[in-house]
């Protein structure tokens, strides 16, 4: 396959290729796999797959289905770490095609699982195989974009990773449309929706994978000259091998930076909407009283406003991905993360005060800004890695760093849920039980700030020598 349709050699761009064709190819893949965030749209219909109108005794519980989320993010991180080197060696097209088969295949296996009513097929199909597709698809364009946009690394990776945040915005309403189209008196329509979405994503991801091109060795944007080494001490022009990178303190400091930023963000995402509803209660619909004092109809209205808040946050999440990553090209990665942690600390600590003051617009604005920095943390990290370790192994290094995301997927929800339960068990009113959680999450940001402050340029001994680099590049060709 060395010179096959999917090989690296096959996708070296011809002279005069327009580099702006690569970001939409990356977006096609990230918008497809980003549907992972929107899978909760299937929970309710799947929990009535047998009973159709109400849950039957043999129907799946939502908590059982929810394990697919955990599997998604565990397998995203582990497959990105495991296959990162393979992606670098074989090139983004082969990785994109493999991601398309895994992600879409996961949908088809899940459709079979719905048909046979076997939850294991859903867990293995979407959770495990689909999760591997997430990992491969997520890292496939990163190093390619960084190589095409050495002058705007942050913006380039921000564009792709914005797609991962935006995938559910397309996938969730599309899934609703399809389920309404396919449902019958004997089916909730999920099986057919899985098959249709699997095929749509397969086509979109293949189009993206076949749109990938790699720049020829030595290519640089017209009119651009690399900054001198002394001028930009935090941006190296040399290369660190992935196996060496994980031996550096910088890798682990950045691992902690991502872990803390994502853990705090996941915690906030999980509690933002219920927090708004419980803190403001009837005030959200212009009536007096706490949430527990409202009628069922009023509670439904408040829940609808909570859903609107969650939707607004998702917009700021994807906006932050492109905004902060692009800004980092001008202010530097380290300063950008300092802003995330310092400004984030102030906002997390101030949120309970805004709640007590009863100022809804201020409370909403605080969370919107917080969510931009959660998204920005994901999109700025690949450029930070490229600055520290060079561009040759950045995809594989990024893959290994994504295990921090898996770890955050465990830490963030555990912190939020257990602190809240502990508070409520001690008699703290529900509306105030969030305050301590916000302060604990702010504490995570302090740890992230300290880790970021300790990031220094990588020591000389970790870099590849010219001979080693020539051999590396030769192996890839």
């Amino acid at each position: 396959m060395s010179s096959g349709l999917l090989s690296r050699e096959r996708i070296i761009a011809r002279t005069g290729f327009n580099r702006w064709l690569v970001p939409p190819a990356a977006l096609a893949i990230h918008l497809s796999i980003g549907m992972a965030y929107g899978f909760s749209v299937f929970w309710l219909p799947l929990s009535r797959a047998i009973g159709i109108t109400t849950a039957a005794p043999d129907d799946w519980k939502i908590s059982t289905l929810g394990w697919m989320f955990t599997l998604f993010f565990v397998f995203l991180g582990s497959s990105a770490a495991l296959f990162g080197r393979w992606v670098e060696r074989e090139g983004p097209r082969k990785a994109g095609v493999a991601a398309a088969f895994c992600w879409s295949g996961g949908f088809l296996i899940s459709a079979l699982g719905v048909h046979l009513h076997q939850i294991l097929l859903l867990w293995i199909g979407s959770g495990v195989i689909g999760g591997c597709g997430l990992g491969l698809g997520y890292i496939s364009p990163v190093s390619t974009l960084i190589k095409w946009f050495p002058d705007r690394r942050g913006m380039a990776t921000g564009m792709a990773i914005m797609g991962f945040g935006g995938g559910a915005m397309i996938g969730s309403p599309l899934a609703n449309l399809l389920m309404n189209r396919f449902k019958t008196p004997t089916s909730v329509g999920v099986e057919e929706t899985f098959v249709t979405m699997g095929l749509i994503y397969f086509v979109a991801m293949l189009a993206g994978a076949f749109g990938y091109r790699l720049p020829a060795p030595g290519w640089q944007p017209s009119g651009w000259t690399p900054p001198a080494a002394q001028q930009k001490a935090m941006i190296t022009t040399r290369q660190v091998h992935v196996d060496q990178a994980i031996r550096t303190p910088q890798f682990w400091l950045l691992w902690v930076v991502l872990w803390m930023n994502v853990s705090a963000g996941i915690g906030v995402i999980g509690m933002a909407s219920p927090m708004l509803q419980e803190v403001f209660g009837g005030k959200l619909i212009g009536v007096a009283g706490a949430l527990r004092d409202l009628t069922e109809d009023q509670k439904t209205q408040v829940a609808s406003i909570g859903a609107g808040f969650a939707a607004l946050l998702s917009l700021f999440n994807i906006g932050g991905r492109i905004f902060w990553a692009s800004l980092s090209d001008y202010v530097g990665r380290k300063r950008t993360y300092f802003i995330f942690f310092a400004l984030g600390f102030v906002l997390y600590c101030f949120a309970p005060t805004a709640g007590r003051a009863g100022v809804i617009p201020l409370f909403v604005a605080l969370f919107c800004i917080i969510l931009t920095m959660y998204g920005g943390g994901f999109s700025t990290i690949p450029a930070y890695l490229a600055d520290m370790f060079g561009t040759v192994h950045v995809g594989a290094i990024h893959g290994r760093l994504l295990t921090a995301w898996s770890a955050a997927g465990i830490l963030g929800p555990i912190l939020v849920n257990y602190i809240r339960e502990f508070q409520i068990d001690r008699g703290v009113p529900a509306a105030q039980a969030y305050n301590t959680t916000m302060y604990v999450l702010a504490g995570l940001l302090v740890i992230g700030f300290i880790a970021n402050a300790r990031v220094r340029p990588v020591a000389e001994r970790y870099f590849l020598t010219d001979a080693q680099l020539a051999q590396e590049l030769g192996d890839k060709r």
């Binding site: 702006w20 977006l27 918008l31 290519w219 859903a307 609107g308 939707a311 607004l312 917009l315």
Partner: protein
């Protein structure tokens, strides 16, 4: 390095439209939900 040809920008616009149209639809649907917060 050679600059991309003028005609290549037509391909760029087409490729971006292919991803921008579904993304724009998704953002529109999300905004429809988000406005409930301001009613």
């Amino acid at each position: 390095m050679e600059r991309p040809s003028a005609s290549s920008w037509a391909g760029v616009i087409f490729a971006w439209l292919l991803v921008a149209i579904p993304l724009g639809w998704g953002i529109y649907k999300t905004l429809q939900t988000a406005v409930k917060l301001f009613r």
